[in-house]
Symmetry: C2
Subunit: 391 residues, 2 copies
Amino acid sequence: MFTDQLPALSARFTTVRPSVVRELLALTARPGVISFAGGLPAPEFFDLDGALAAVQEVLRSRSVLQYSPSEGNPELRARIAERYAAIGLPTDPEQIVITTGSQQGLSLLAATLVDPGDVVLVERPSYLAALQCFALAGARLIGVPSAGESVDLEALADLAERHRPKAFYIVPTFHNPTGRTLTQENRAGIVAVAERHGFRVIEDDPYRELSYAGAAPAPMAAGAEPGRVISTGSFSKILAPGLRLGWIRTDPSIRSAVVIAKQAADLHTSTLDQAAAATYLASGRLDAAIRRSRAGYAERRDAMLAGLPATLPDGSTWNRPDGGMFVWVTLPEPMDSAALLGAAIDHDVAFVPGAPFHTDPAPANTLRLSFVTYPPDRIAEGLSRLAPVFR
Amino acid sequence: MFTDQLPALSARFTTVRPSVVRELLALTARPGVISFAGGLPAPEFFDLDGALAAVQEVLRSRSVLQYSPSEGNPELRARIAERYAAIGLPTDPEQIVITTGSQQGLSLLAATLVDPGDVVLVERPSYLAALQCFALAGARLIGVPSAGESVDLEALADLAERHRPKAFYIVPTFHNPTGRTLTQENRAGIVAVAERHGFRVIEDDPYRELSYAGAAPAPMAAGAEPGRVISTGSFSKILAPGLRLGWIRTDPSIRSAVVIAKQAADLHTSTLDQAAAATYLASGRLDAAIRRSRAGYAERRDAMLAGLPATLPDGSTWNRPDGGMFVWVTLPEPMDSAALLGAAIDHDVAFVPGAPFHTDPAPANTLRLSFVTYPPDRIAEGLSRLAPVFR
């Protein structure tokens, strides 16, 4: 008999939807499967030589094996602050707190900002692991409708009025799962609603550098009063996800709380990985690596977009993302993407149905396709396997 | 105006005591200071060559820069399971979940087992960062008194009866902060009370391998029914804290919840660091490195114990730990260790006052001294600086 068994485990964890993506990711490991499900960066664009050189360099000193400050490596924080400044968002290195991937950034913000029962607004659809993270913190999640490729500002203001949310969690640039990017005007509108209603915006921005059509719009934090928009970022899409290196761009109003939460979460992020990243950034190789990823991914996006008309049934629609990793497909009604997944897997190809990305009942006819993992010929092959499933 | 400002931030974070240890750790960086405050392993015992060789080996493959499973590297989990089996605790690799340091292990167990308002029992005194971790999860912490070097079993049963705790958090081997090790008999008694009253034991066991007088008693999990004792472990004291590698030895009753919490916390621990540790363990170098640390730390413990009689005022008492990192000192009443800390720092030497390690009002005359960071001559120098402060 365990006193914990019923109250804690069940109550907290039944709010978390079955992790569809997790199971689909395992599929990627099955030989021969072409998985458009995962958001796995293509390893061929990892700068392995650069990573090795950086690690060898920092492992000259025993200090990279020692404990280090919870806020993170000062040099790495300074480099991140510089990169923000370069895109129009002046940032003090003090504001940056290094996290174990941007997933931890979300988890720390949930711990810092959310009390059980608090409302957190999210996009419809939204990033699955963020939904999980806020749900575990006890948040009540409410989806904000879209108007075309924008957040519906009237609906946002109405939900804010009715529910007094703590925060609006949003991926404004090359969104996961839809690939959409909010315009500068829509960003400003969201910030204005947030300021009027007193909630914070959590701007999750890991895909920003993967832009295939010129620079992405400025971060939402750039136009807002201090502390209104808290941004998270990541090296996972531009350097290496395996290093688990992300950050929060905090503000004095929450910085010390975030650092306390970080300390309780894991004391600090790997000293070795942080030092290696700082050295790698100092080497100047990152921007060249990003350019290679951009060129490669743009080509893959084009390959996927070129193959979709012959793959999807008549009446399907999809977007043309300017960056990131994902295309969002809407099949004609009454098709059910989840019901087709089994047949797809039988054909050694996978995608993610759209419904789990929602926190409320959602249309069954959407799905997410990742275009970054495979070269163009494999994308074409995967789509040719999908065609008979959908048609 | 932020809706979160008052309710969430203040309510949750005022329960967390000011992080005295954190500020003291910063002191260690001040040139010339001899700090007995931190629990920093001595870098001269880090196997830098072994770490470099392991990292170079694993960085031949791009896969160490990629995402990896939340449960952790399968080979590393198998090695950890083998090490448990070797000390009398048969363990299936499936039971092991890799965490970002054992601090994250505590944080995940808090998330998994504790609902706000639940009671968690802790030792008096207890590990500071664990208190912080359970407090942040909303636990009500209640201290269990000691009888000599043991946990007072009658008091434990009485507290369990009155408060229906979810768990008893305990560091049974070379305890932080006191250095005490519970006997096999006392361990069995604690487990018996836990089984009778239905709470779990969280056995935090990072110091076990740092034993200077033969093998430590078997883990508490060895004598208990499945799931009753959940153990956490760490490579921080035996390999390198900077890698942030720890683990939870779970049980089917909580494993899936722990993995979900892990996924929400940071998706997974650094792929690179885990792979390097697995390769390092396979190289067989770890046990030799542990032997070097043991010999060096035993000598340092002896140096500290030898110097204490001339350092501390008459009427002081302290223990002789058989392992770990810490000596616990009780000054004669009515001395106040916290009040003496400022003078110590003026003399370029530091310790941690004992009161913050308690969750309830505690005697002011205790303090913790770490003996692992400096060689014997620096320990002697540090103690000679402390003597005029205390006498």
